[in-house]
């Protein structure tokens, strides 16, 4: 991609993307797209997000998203009180026929999650063993200077962009972004996802404490999803601006 090379990498060593990087890139890309699609369907079924251990239509939401007819549908029978008080514990029967395609939505989500998890683990092992992660992706300490960061930002804003070779060495912004996606966002998606599972949290209740409850985990899952969608858009735009055909060749046939 368009990049200001960070300097300490001899250009002659560049051979584009390794075969395992290309293969895992596309499996992960397909998984992430499927997870985003099915995840959005799941979110449409209950477009309310909460903070804490539990949350539902009868408890206050952190925020609500107008993304399906389930948004503030209001179809509830008169509530019955279990415990009165300042914030009473009540029960109410739902009378509204909600939008719900979770039968295939959830199964598709977890099928894609398996591909993400297994490919992701193989990628991390290969990335550590080959040195790809440390040599190409994680920024060096001396690179993390405001001046270098500014330089790279400016070079990204200059149009038309220089055509990039495809593959490492990467610029500072690329390193920061790719590292954040691979080492922070995707593992966080897996962990917050597992923190919503009753069977997994029975075995590892620490996941509940880590995120402050399964509904907090769901909300974090949503925000990281939003960040990953933003990354995806910027990533595709940058690929397009820095020589789309050249970039696609590099990530597919490895030219």
């Amino acid at each position: 991609m368009a990049s200001v090379t960070s300097g300490d990498e001899p250009k002659s060593s560049v051979v584009g993307h390794a075969r395992w990087v290309r293969l895992s890139h596309w499996i992960l890309a397909a998984s992430v797209l499927t997870l985003a699609f099915s995840g959005f369907e799941i979110l449409m079924v209950h477009p309310r997000l909460y903070w804490g251990k539990a949350g539902n239509d009868l408890t206050p939401a952190l925020f609500e998203l107008p993304i399906s007819r389930n948004y503030q549908h209001g179809g509830w029978a008169p509530p019955v009180t279990f415990f009165p008080g300042a914030s009473p514990v009540v029960s109410a029967a739902r009378t509204y026929d909600i939008f719900n395609h979770n039968s295939w939505g959830r199964s598709l989500h977890f099928l894609a999650a398996w591909f993400l998890l297994i490919t992701g683990l193989i990628y991390l092992v290969a990335g550590l063993a080959s040195g790809h992660l440390w040599r190409h992706l994680v920024p060096r300490l001396q690179e993390l200077a405001a001046r270098l960061l500014w330089q790279d930002i400016v070079s990204h804003l200059r149009l038309p962009m220089r055509t990039a070779r495809g593959g490492p060495p990467y610029g500072l912004l690329q390193k920061l972004t790719y590292s954040a996606v691979i080492l922070i966002a995707l593992p966080l998606m897996v962990l917050t996802g597992l923190a919503m599972s009753p069977a997994v949290t029975a075995a590892y209740p620490g996941l509940l404490d880590l995120f402050g409850g399964s509904q907090s985990a769901r909300t974090i899952h949503f925000f990281v999803f939003a960040a990953l969608v933003l990354f995806l858009i910027v990533h595709v735009v940058m690929v397009a601006l820095s020589g789309f055909a050249r970039q696609m060749r590099a990530m597919t046939i490895g030219d």
Partner: protein
Amino acid sequence: MKKDKLVIVSRRKIVTGLASTGGLLLVGCSSKELPPTYGNVLRMGDLLTYRAFRMLLPARSLVREYSRSDITSSPATGTSNPADPHQELYNAERGTLYDRLRAGAFADWRLRIEGRVARPRSFSLAELQALSSRTQITKHTCEEGWSAIAEWTGVPLRAVLEAAGILPSARFVNFFAYDDTAEGIDMLDALHPQTILAYGMNGRDLPPAHGAPLRLRVETQLGYKSVKFLERIVVKDEFDDLGKIGSLQNGWAWYVGI
């Protein structure tokens, strides 16, 4: 002696389990001991999740139990009254019967335990309430995305199954309800100490909309496995998809630990 035998059995199970990991996605197509996939890729994914969870997660972990101050409001979704013909799931015969039982304060209601048990029998509500009870404050996680914490009081399913004498070959426990739904769980979840038949919620009788007089609580799975308005329990050696009233033929995953 008995202990040694148990160890051998569980080791053999582990070895069989490990040997079949290679064919994780395929093995369900022929085996009657696993949920069928019908050749559907989504069901193959469900089966992979089920097998992986059973293989990788320690058995018998207890779900977190909360304190009374953590109790939240609880929506009642799905069927709220099996006797109401306007409900999405309704069976005229069972609905009418339910209406009659409820009119008599469930005095004539009986829970039948049948199938692969040595002594098939029924329990009245009073008989179930006479067995030693368990009260737990747990989180109900709905597949829709919401959750609710409530206190549930009931009798461990294990005690009821043992009273009827589960045969050693039994592998699955299926539950039939008055609202024309049915669900099944494997023996690991059925014998789980927190899997109870609940007749009380938040310190009072189980409210009608939450499945009166008796509902299942499977705390290690999502809410839709916790069948409301229980009518009958059937113990089986082999997997049964429960036909048109079971989750599988309606497109839903059978195992929902996630």
